[in-house]
Symmetry: C2
Subunit: 489 residues, 2 copies
Amino acid sequence: MQPDATQAFPSAMESTIVVASNRGPVSFDRDRSGELISQRGAGGLVTALSGVFFRDDTTWVAAAMTEGDRAVAVEGYEIDPDSHQRVRFVVIPPERYEAYYNQMANRILWFVHHYLWDTARTPTFDEHTEATWQGFVEANRAFALALAEEGDRDPVYLIQDYHLSLVPAMLRELRPDARIVHFTHTPFAGATYLRILPAHMRDAILRGMAGADVVGFQARTWVESFLLSVRDLPGFRVLRGGRFAVGDRIATARAFPVAVSAHSIRETAAKPETKRVRRELKAWKGAARLLLRVDRLEPSKNILRGFLAYELFLRSNPSWQGRVKFLALFSPSREALPEYQAYGDDCLAEVERINKELATEAWQPIEVRIQEDYGYAVGAYGLYDALLVNPVYDGMNLVAMEGPLVNRHGALILSRNAGAYGRLRKHALTVNPFDIRETADAIRDALDMPEEDRKRRGRGLSRTVQAHTPPLWLASQLEALDQVRLPPD
Amino acid sequence: MQPDATQAFPSAMESTIVVASNRGPVSFDRDRSGELISQRGAGGLVTALSGVFFRDDTTWVAAAMTEGDRAVAVEGYEIDPDSHQRVRFVVIPPERYEAYYNQMANRILWFVHHYLWDTARTPTFDEHTEATWQGFVEANRAFALALAEEGDRDPVYLIQDYHLSLVPAMLRELRPDARIVHFTHTPFAGATYLRILPAHMRDAILRGMAGADVVGFQARTWVESFLLSVRDLPGFRVLRGGRFAVGDRIATARAFPVAVSAHSIRETAAKPETKRVRRELKAWKGAARLLLRVDRLEPSKNILRGFLAYELFLRSNPSWQGRVKFLALFSPSREALPEYQAYGDDCLAEVERINKELATEAWQPIEVRIQEDYGYAVGAYGLYDALLVNPVYDGMNLVAMEGPLVNRHGALILSRNAGAYGRLRKHALTVNPFDIRETADAIRDALDMPEEDRKRRGRGLSRTVQAHTPPLWLASQLEALDQVRLPPD
């Protein structure tokens, strides 16, 4: 892509990049000899972004998670030898990190953006909420200060997710000419629902994000939710085409659906240990068909209704009993938080009940594994006849995209409330995630589907996913950044 | 108001009126001798509308609730001697009524429009949901058929609330030229939240309401939620100024905040039995200040957080302990439904705990009365120092308007999520209903407020409420109906 000759500033496409996210792409621990060794970070965001940072001269700023990370932070930058990335850690004191990450981000912001509250009872903001909020503000400020220190190279800042929603405006204050993209990986709450937050928090979050030049989301729905909320803020005007004015400055809100790297997932699939998992699971599955789900054990994933739908499917289609197995792979998630723990307990209790009521000597309807093992999931991807992705709400959902890259013969059952619905709907069996009757019917249809049909859809899914690569995802954000700075026509 | 000479049709202002609502303005029972006697209907909608139908030649179509109603329905129309209204009852078989009213309207639509679901767990649509929906469709059809039979007099149809959301389109099919207003008394769910409903139900509800010429709501927020949802329906276009096109037909969505009748509430206040209640409560209250709430015992009213906020206020301001009493008047609501029962139980348990922990020999912090007694509530209105109206979400909230009509010295604490907020915010202490710290502070500020300030606000509230009368509310809807049929400029 050629930089526009009319531009008075360098194209974002040619600039150095500074990424900020709560969790970094690597984390450092000490081996037995006391040497620092790095480990790949977990979580959807890191997976999504890892494929992007293919070039030199990229710095990734993240919160220190381990004693090793803190040592790296103190020693200065560390160059990750595999990817030519620099990593810089922001050290946040434990109590402040608890307020910022567990309380504010995971218990409050995650819940508002996924519509997860039981509003008659939760949330209840009280005399502790303000301290939680201050921890969030301070952690965001620590990020903004670290980013501002990277400003000498006039980089493009790519600030990731709802944890860092205040950073763009804070950074703009420190560096008024900074070029900033903020990208939200979750959904974004509708305007009425967002008003559940105390007014000053809601306003700070909206103004914080609007500090960016480009405010990115996974899907058009979330863009619109954001614009509907900023529209009512004093000093803001929403213009046409997703652009909005903050005082004299013009910014834009746009959808940039995230992409996954076919290359890296296939590399994982080709590993001997992944192949071994696949062989083991194949032997375990036997002649049965395989229904698979892969999720963090988390309320937005709609795990409970997934099991209820499967039970309804088995009871309505008794000929399938004994001929299908449901493998549910969960990575543990935020287990210290009571809401997550209660939800996880409820899910496992439901599995126990269903298995007890329906199992025979030779067959158990549901098999659950709770483990942090990406390779194991990729091994399972290769085998499914149907992949169940039924979140209540989801920013995008990477599993729905990863599965078809490894498996081109299985069907995808996809929630209409996942961001991935926009791209994959054509080739998926789509469901209302609250409707277990419709989900049960989709499970039946997926398993009953003629093989040719299933393969055709599988190829369609795989092609669609591959058409959108992480470098293109990055390029579209940088392009939007160039465009927003152009004088209007 | 003069009819416009350019109009080829009679002004809606001069037409006869047919109202439809689930609950009628009166209900019939037999006395001991077997004669039919009428009783005023309960509920906010009837209260709001009763003041409107001041003129002859108005028919009110409602569902038969009692054996007496069914007798009236069979015998034909009954003229209510007090108000010159005709009442016509639609007889819906009990099983269908259960599906239509308790299951579909109260457990599903009420919850979606008030954002009340605990989405990780509720709702779960299953194999019974479709039968529930069919009951709703059939009950709406019975209303549409009854209304169509009233068509000979070329009336204006005023169709009330979410229970009858399918009626406008059904009636339009039966009487293509009918002039129809649909008015929603509740909030209207945001576009993303509304997608919780199975798609065909959501679409039918939106298309049903859009069958009206004028789609009315309590507040602009709910208008916008509606327009955002219809925008995505095939065949719909949203135009400027709240107008939208359904094929070739133009309709409009507008806010018509409901009004209450100062005359009728003051009549109630002047009754000897109301005065007796007031005397009794005054004696009971003694020298203490009075915090009052008047609500149906119902999750959207946010009763639990109200008690928690009051507790927080007492603990943070111990000097108020013993000097204030919280009187909570609840009318029983939908007690047969498990969600309502569980919520009511939780509320009463909280009261018991707070009273146990804080009461002294001479003082009990909270007094709860559960009773269906409008006059008792009006008696209490006269006495409050502060009125707590903190709903999670509320279409309008009539209590916030009724209280100041009787009481011009008390303060109003008002949720920003109540429709009444738009009108009353200037004179009220407004709160985020999820924030018990802010609500506790508002209780303190209301009670600490200098008398002159409190009276000034009270007069402001009363004047604002009186400036909007039920006849004006009706006239603005009829005017909108005339305007939507005018050729565009």
